[in-house]
Every structure is written in C-alpha cells, then in structure tokens.
C-alpha cells in the first residue's frame, strides 16, 4: 500500500556542535502520510534533526533520503519539504494572502493558479476572511494558521513543524492539537513534528520517536510507548510512572523473587516471557498510576500482586483523587483512584493500605 512506503529515511545521522554530539547516530523511517513526532526534553537534538531534514544544517555523518532521493547536495529551496517555524516567521511586510502566495510565486506558478491555491489553503485553516490583514493584526492562533497555510499551499511531500503549539496558551493549544491532526488528514500530507510536550505528541501522532541527549531511545505508537516503554527514561518522560528497583535473588519458574533495598520484604514478580532474567540482575518495575488499585484487604485476587504501605499525601483533583502511598523509606508511589472509592472523604494520611496491580500491567526492565 502507498501509506506503508517510506517518506523520509534517515540513516545514522550525526551532528556535532563543538565537542558534543547534538545528534548521535539517529536512524528512523517516516512513513508516507503519517503524523510522526520527535519528542524529547530541550537539548535532545530533535530540532537539529528537523533542521537537517529542512536543509538548514548539514549533517556531519549519515544520510537523509526524502521519497527515495538523497538530500545531500540539495539546498533548502530545492527540497520537497516545508517548515513551520516555532516563531512562525511570517513576513511582516506582506499581507496574509501575500505570505501564503510566497512559495508558489517563488516556484513561478501562473498567477490565476496561485490565487486559487492560496484560497484553498486559507480555507483549509479557516482564515479566508483575513487575507488582507498583515501578520501584526492577527492573534497568535491566527498567525499559526497562516504559517500552516503558507507551508501547505506548496503541497510539500513532508511538512515539518518545530514546536508548533508552544507559543499558544493552554486552551488554544488543546484546540489546535485536534485541529492540526484534522488538517493533516485533510491535506493527506506527511507531518514531522518536534515537541517537548508529551501530551501533544501522544494525542496527535501516529508514531513517536522519543529522543534524549542526541539519541533515539524508542520509536512506536503512542500506546506502545505508554504501555511498553523500553527504558525508565521513556516511561518517566511519557506520563507519570511508579518505579521500583531491585536485585533478582531467585528464579522460580516464571516468577522471580526480587529484593529491593527500599522495601522491608521480598517481592515476587511474575516476569513476562520475553524478558530473560538471571539471578543477580538489576531490574526496574514500572507501573502507571491508573493501573494501580488500593485495597484494605491483604489478600489479592488471582493474577494480582500487592505491596503494603501507608497513605503519605492526598491530592484532590475533582473527578479523582491521587494518593501518594509510601511503600518504603525512599519509595512513594502515585495511585489514581475514582473519587468515591473510599467513601465521600476518601482515605487520609497515615491510613494503612495495600497497593495492587495486575501482573500483566507491570513493565519489567533489565539493566
């Protein structure tokens, strides 16, 4: 199928800034028509990757191919990609319509064709009524739409977005997340988006590459990243995560007895079959707050595991309560339960409680 073919192929890309590796052997493939995000904290190298795809920075090593064509000697004005800048970079001396018409004009499109393409692009971002304004007369959200239209009017093979929503306020940002996704579907264009905002990446993307310190740690669908992180960094960066580190003392069939210096007793965990663990290995157990249950009963149901602890802090957040449960000297877990779980007033500080979870919900990482 067409959707499955590669739009961008990046192989072993390296970019050095002085002695530091800004981009450290990054390889990834963006499929045609998908919404792909590069997610990571600032300084992760994601913007460098984006700028190398656009052609503003030259890779020190590695190759970038767009639609099968090597981009090595192709300058930015000849690449079949367009970039939506973080600051939008709208031309202040041109009207909205002139801004959008800039690309087609530079490509030498006929006048009447430019006019109709500009109209279509402005319709797509719902800004047709403001085409005679100059950028300074528009709100931040409108400027963002103009920047999108100015890029999409060129029908690029790939649209690159650099932190597209970071300059917008919270409410507008959530609206634009939905909007951006639907624009991408309407334009049937490959989007590559750089963001440091995990919620943004998860809601909009088909696939996400999580980056840190110049390296790609994991590539996968939002669900895949959230539910099966392959590293503690990814688990932590994508949502709140509860962790427990320990050493494998004994293997007992598919169960491992893990001793954590932070807990008083041993913990028996059932290991997923695909993770090979030996005695003496250090393992990290990861659990999402909403996968945990609180119970006063010591005995769990079949297929559940539990740890005893006490309530350390209660955070009320309307529809649910977040309990911080102290399991040991240095281990406090975050548990989210519906508001009415333990009566109107819920649990309070110091109450003894058991934390339970389904064995299959735990992610076990080995080092």
């Amino acid at each position: 199928m067409v959707e499955q073919s590669a739009s961008i192929e990046i192989t072993s890309l390296v970019k050095r800034h002085g002695a530091t590796l800004a981009v450290d052997h990054v390889s990834l493939t963006v499929r045609r028509g998908e919404f792909f995000s590069l997610l990571g904290p600032s300084g992760a190298g994601k913007t460098s990757v984006l700028r190398m795809i656009a052609g503003f920075e030259t890779p020190d090593e590695g190759t970038i191919r767009i639609d099968g064509r090597s981009m090595e000697t192709v300058p930015p004005n000849r690449r079949p990609v367009n970039l939506v800048f973080q600051s939008y970079a709208l031309f202040p001396h041109l009207t909205v319509a002139e801004n959008v018409a800039f690309g087609p004009r530079m490509q030498g499109a006929p006048r009447n064709e430019i006019a109709s393409r500009v109209r279509v692009a402005l319709d797509m971002v719902k800004l047709s009524s403001k085409e005679e304004r100059v950028p300074a007369q528009l709100s931040g959200g409108e400027q963002q739409r103009v920047a999108l239209a100015r890029a999409l009017v060129n029908r690029p093979a790939v649209l690159l977005l650099d932190e597209p929503l970071s300059a917008l306020d919270q409410q507008l940002r959530q609206e634009m997340q939905v909007e951006l996704k639907s624009i991408q579907e309407r334009a049937a264009c490959t989007f590559v988006c750089v963001t440091h905002h995990q919620e943004e990446a998860l809601t909009m993307s088909d696939r996400v590459a999580v980056m840190d310190q110049g390296r790609v740690l994991q590539i996968g669908s939002p669900q895949n990243l959230y539910e099966s992180p392959t590293s503690a960094f990814v688990a932590r960066f994508i949502g709140i995560s509860n962790e427990l580190r320990g050493i494998v003392r004994r293997i007992d069939g598919e169960r491992a007895v893990v001793q954590s210096p932070d807990l008083s007793g041993d913990l028996q965990i059932t290991l997923p079959i695909h993770i090979p663990v030996r005695e003496g290995n250090v393992v990290t157990l990861l659990l999402r707050p909403e996968r945990l249950r609180l119970s006063t009963a010591a005995q769990g149901l079949n297929g559940e595991q539990s740890l005893a602890g006490s309530i350390d802090k209660v955070l009320y957040s309307g529809s649910d309560r977040r309990y911080m449960v102290r399991l040991g000297e240095r281990v406090v877990w975050n548990v989210r339960v519906p508001n009415d779980e333990f009566g109107r007033n819920g649990l309070s500080r110091g109450d003894a409680i058991n934390v339970r979870w389904q064995i299959s919900d735990a992610v076990v990482l080995t080092e």
Binding site: L83, F85, S87, L90, F91, P92, H93, F102, Q107, R150
Partner: protein, 295 residues
C-alpha cells in the same frame, strides 16, 4: 469626561521644571538657528547695493536671476553629483552593513568602530589627503604607472570623479550606520523561511531583506544626499574650478561676489528642495511604519 486625581497637584511644578530644562535648548535654537534663518529669507528678497551691502527694498529679482541657465546647470549638476554619491554609498554600504549586522556582537563592535574611526580626524585634513592620492604625481597614479596599468598619468584631481570620490568617502558611514541598524532588526528566521519557500538568494534579498530594511535605506539615502547636495569643501578642494556645486555658488555669492541677497535666494531654493525631498521620502516610508504600529 474628566477625572481628576490627587496626583494632579504634583504636575504643575513638574511642568514648570520641564520648561526650565527646555529653556537653554530652545534659546539656542531660537537665537542661533531660527533668527538667522529668518534673516536669510528676508535678505533673499532684498537688493544688492552698488558696492556690496544690502538695500532693504522688496523685490523678486534674485529669484528671477536664478532662472538663468548657468544657475540651473550648477543646480542640476549638484543634484546629479549628490544622487550619484548616494547611489554609490548605497551600493557599497549595503553589503558592508549586512555583513556587520550578521556578525557576532563582539565583531560588530569592532567593525562599527572601524567605520567610525575616520571621524576622529578632521574632515579638511582627510580631504587634503585625497588630493595627495589623486594628483597627477600622486599615490594612485604612481602605483598604476609602476604596475604598468597605465602609460601616462590619469587626470583624476579637479574633476567630478574626484568630487564624487571625496563625497562617497566622507558620507559612507552615514549610509552604513542606519542600514546596519535596520538590517540588524531583520529576523534571521525570515530569511530561512523565504529560503524554505523556494526563494533563490536574489529573491530572498529582493523580497524579504530589502523591503524590511527600507526605513534604513531611506534614512541612509537622506543622510548622504542632503549634506552631499550642500557640500562646498569637497568640490572646492577636489573639484577645483571645473566642478562647481551649489554650495560653492552660495559661498561665492556671499564671500567673493558680495551679493548677499542672491546668495540668500540660492540658499532658500536649496532648503526648499531638501525639505521637499524629505517630505516625499517620509511619505514613501510611512506605509510600512504605519503597518508596524497598528495592532
């Protein structure tokens, strides 16, 4: 509707103080600038006495005299030389200003200092230096002869070329500085955006950098054109008898011909010309600045 606040009481001493602070400046401009200007205008309508001096009778003869082809030619030549100087300064100053604007802040300081260093030496001295360079047995001719590029010395001094060289040399910084200020404000990502949108290097310059730098171009052109038009020292020293500009004519009428009324009339025409050009260029600049201030 007027609402008065208790703070208002403090306003009157403040206002009185501001008048006192303005006083010296106003007095200076009034006595040394405005009054002499009025005198020049009045004298331009008077008549010349038989042995110089001014006869205080109203007439338009001075202005009618200016219609003489000789004066028109000098005025036309002055405008041409000033325009040529401005154009050369723009062509030479733009790349320099662009380069400085894109340099690192530390290097910017050094470059700007280098642009301004000539001001540390007296303009007259620097113009004499140009005479030594341009003369028939001067530096330039000697060099060209030694290199075998020319067989006989070129006559450079005492020509319009020499005047333009001197003017460009003198006024180039007035072009570079406002251009630098305008170009430094041009957001670099706009250049990248244009490049990303398929613009060639020339289109980036023509469609983005130049329009955004327009206020600086206008300011630089005015700052070069106006003093060039009124220049008299440079054409006097480098142009000699062959190249007379309107500034030399005014000087000649006042000091040599002792025809103050005619000199005053020429001055008034020159002023009107300059004011007219400023008004025109300010209007040409407004659409952009108006857009910037709206919103």
């Amino acid at each position: 509707m007027k609402v008065s606040f208790p703070v208002r009481g403090t306003e009157s001493p403040g206002r009185a103080l501001s008048w006192w602070l303005l006083g010296p400046g106003l007095l200076w401009i009034g006595l040394l600038f405005f009054v002499p200007l009025c005198l020049v205008v009045v004298i331009s309508f008077a008549n010349r006495g038989t042995y110089g001096g001014i006869v205080w009778s109203f007439s338009l003869t001075n202005y009618l005299d200016l219609l003489h082809p000789l004066y028109a030619r000098i005025l036309g030549q002055s405008i041409l030389l000033a325009a040529g100087t401005t154009l050369l300064c723009l062509v030479m100053g733009f790349p320099l200003a662009y380069y400085i604007a894109r340099a690192t802040p530390k290097h910017q300081g050094i470059w700007l200092l280098l642009v301004m260093i000539p001001f540390w030496t007296n303009f007259l001295v620097r113009t004499y230096a140009w005479m030594f360079i341009l003369r028939t047995e001067g530096l330039l001719n000697t060099l060209l002869l030694k290199l075998g590029l020319i067989a006989t010395p070129v006559e450079l001094l005492y020509s319009n070329t020499a005047v333009v060289i001197g003017l460009v040399y003198g006024y180039l910084p007035f072009m570079v500085l406002p251009l630098f200020a305008a170009l430094e404000r041009v957001d670099r990502t706009l250049v990248e955006a244009a490049w990303d949108l398929y613009a060639t290097r020339w289109s980036v310059f023509r469609r983005v950098i130049l329009p955004l730098a327009r206020p600086g171009v206008m300011a630089g052109c005015l700052l070069v054109f106006i003093p060039s038009l009124g220049a008299f020292l440079t054409p006097d020293l480098l142009g000699g008898a062959r190249s007379m500009m309107i500034g030399n004519l005014i000087q000649h009428e006042f000091l040599v011909a002792r025809d103050w009324p005619l000199g005053a009339a020429i001055s008034c025409v020159l002023m009107l010309l300059v004011v007219g050009m400023m008004a025109w260029s300010l209007r040409a600049m407004t659409p952009l600045s108006r857009r910037e201030h709206e919103s």
